[in-house]
Amino acid sequence: MSSLATMLSTETGPEAEPLLSARDLTKVFHTGGQDFRAVDGVSLDVKPGKVLGIVGESGSGKSTVARMVMRLIEPSSGQIMFEGENLTAKSGEALRQTRRHMQIVFQNPHSALNPRDTIGSAIAEPFLVQTRIRGAELERRVEALLDIISLPKAFKYRYPHELSGGQKQRVCIARAVALEPRLLVLDEPTSALDVSVQAQILMFLQDLRVRLNLTYLFISHNLAVVRHLCDDVIVMSKGRIVESGSTDAVFKSPREAYTRKLIDSVPRIPRLCV
């Protein structure tokens, strides 16, 4: 056990062993002869049953971190540990086995669903890829998932274009939680949605986390949404972590000038006096 892990466990007790931890993650993109450090030495711990938010402006590297954690893009250096196993060392069948425990939901639900597949087959796909569940049992699972996202069973015969943005995003979430993953990475899941629909999705995510005992890594540029949903938060800028801590502490008394500027830039709405 490394000294850092020992330190963490003595501080917060052994039950707070992180579900996911990343150490010194770096991603260098080579573009036209020039190297671009999109992510530079990022370390983070996602505690089980908690929501960790990563907030930052465009180009801060927050989505790159999300994709590296999922091994959708390879880190240039650094290590990712998932449930105590070294994810960066895994490949092939071992990686495929681990993937069912960690799932991702993307920003744009309109492009995340295949327009030629019905909603039913979109939700069934994880079972076909990762399990031997077929036939009547598969139908039953798909209907149970539609039930979880509060869509009528008949929606399995519909195509993506027949659904609203919020409904599509719920389908994407259903598909992501189909195999009961332990970690759900949410990359700007409400940014393409209207505010009333955003509220529906946020409330749904909060409820789902409790029901399915999920852990979230939540990426967003929207500070108010992060404030609302996350237990802990990491503020990123230009590929580096600027500040991290409990959401309350970071928002109430930011230590870094950049964090303060970010928070102060959000226009305030006069308070409702009802």
């Binding site: 919020g166 009333s196 509220a199 946020l202 540029h221 830039s265 226009p267 305030r268 409702l272």
Partner: protein, 327 residues
């Protein structure tokens, strides 16, 4: 009526293959010179169609069913295309959401700004001043939008500039004809929050210094609140509530306005639970009868299904269209 902009019972239909979209359903808006109006609403509520109709660049196949848009004592909806050229960009200007899309990637900023200035003289049938004077005007316009290194920017191509800088340039172009009214359609939506704050501050300054009248369209209540003295809330092609920003935001009367505000997470985060508005926005080919919000409204009764609510005054500069408005 001394209002600079007066929209009166404006109804617009757009025929499509699936049927006729009843896209605007009796819009009433009046705006004084030097005032700022924020039009807030979710996607598909008709706010952009309304903004484009004011500018005379609405959908080509749109049909005006009733009403007028009167600007500076001119009925805009009766102008010929030749007359429009003396209004558009000169009296009314517009800026858009994505500043990259509206700049030519192949020409320098200087060239594009210069062309806009020249075109304004041509459109008004006036001889253009000497080239050096027009170049000096380019520099003054950039200074007006608080760009410091004007010489570098004039020589730059759009891709060499940041999103915030590009939006400043579009604002400069919009100001080239010295318009009375500026329509800003989601001017900060594509920008990061820190840049958004700068652009809103710039627009605020232009309102104060130039006495510009602004109609800002946004789905972002925060951005609207930062700029607008008055607010109109749109839902499914209707204005459901209108008045001073302070009055609307602190004491909303319409159930939709309340729902919209309750759906916003608060950055001050005093852990008040969010409230979602159930359901989704209606299809405007076959909009709900009576009040268009009634299928999603917690206060709806039989009358809401039958009668479209009249707009009535509920305070100094605060009107609401609801049968069961909050007190």
């Amino acid at each position: 009526m001394t209002a600079l902009l007066n929209i009166d019972n404006y109804r617009l239909d757009i025929p499509t293959f699936d049927g006729v979209l009843k896209v605007l359903d009796g819009i009433d808006i009046a705006l004084e010179q030097g005032d700022t109006l924020g039009i807030v609403g979710e996607s598909g509520c008709g706010k952009t169609v309304l903004a484009r109709s004011i500018m005379g660049i609405g959908p080509r196949n749109a049909r005006r069913v009733s009403g007028h848009i009167v600007f500076d004592s001119t009925a805009l909806d009766e102008l010929s295309e030749a007359d429009w050229r003396r209004v558009r960009g000169v009296k009314i200007s517009m800026i858009f959401q994505d500043p990259m899309t509206y700049l030519n990637p192949l020409l320098t900023i200087g060239r594009q700004l210069f062309d806009v200035i020249t075109a304004h003289y041509r459109a008004q049938g006036k001889p253009a001043p000497a080239k050096t004077d027009r170049l000096a005007r380019c520099v003054r316009l950039l200074e007006q939008v608080q760009i410091a290194d004007t010489q570098r920017v004039l020589k730059s191509y759009p891709h060499q500039l940041s999103g915030g800088m590009r939006q400043r340039i579009l604002i400069a172009m919009a100001l080239a004809g010295e318009p009375k009214l500026l329509i800003a359609d989601e001017p900060t939506t594509a920008l990061d929050v820190t840049i958004q704050a700068e652009i809103l501050k710039l627009l605020r300054g232009l309102v104060d210094r130039l006495g510009l009248t602004v109609v800002m369209i946004s789905h972002d209540v925060g951005a609207i609140a930062a700029l607008s003295r008055r607010v109109a809330v749109m839902y499914a092609g209707t204005v459901v509530e209108q008045g001073t920003a302070k009055s609307i935001l602190t004491r909303p009367r319409h159930p939709y306005t309340r729902g919209l505000l309750a759906a916003l997470p608060d950055i001050e985060g005093d852990a008040q639970p969010l409230e979602a508005i159930p359901g989704t926005i209606p299809n405007l080919i076959n909009p709900p009868s009576g009040c268009r919000f009634h299928p999603r409204c917690p206060r709806a009764t039989a009358i809401c299904r039958q009668e479209k609510p009249e707009t009535r005054s509920v305070g100094a500069d605060h009107v609401v269209a609801c049968h069961h408005a909050f007190d």
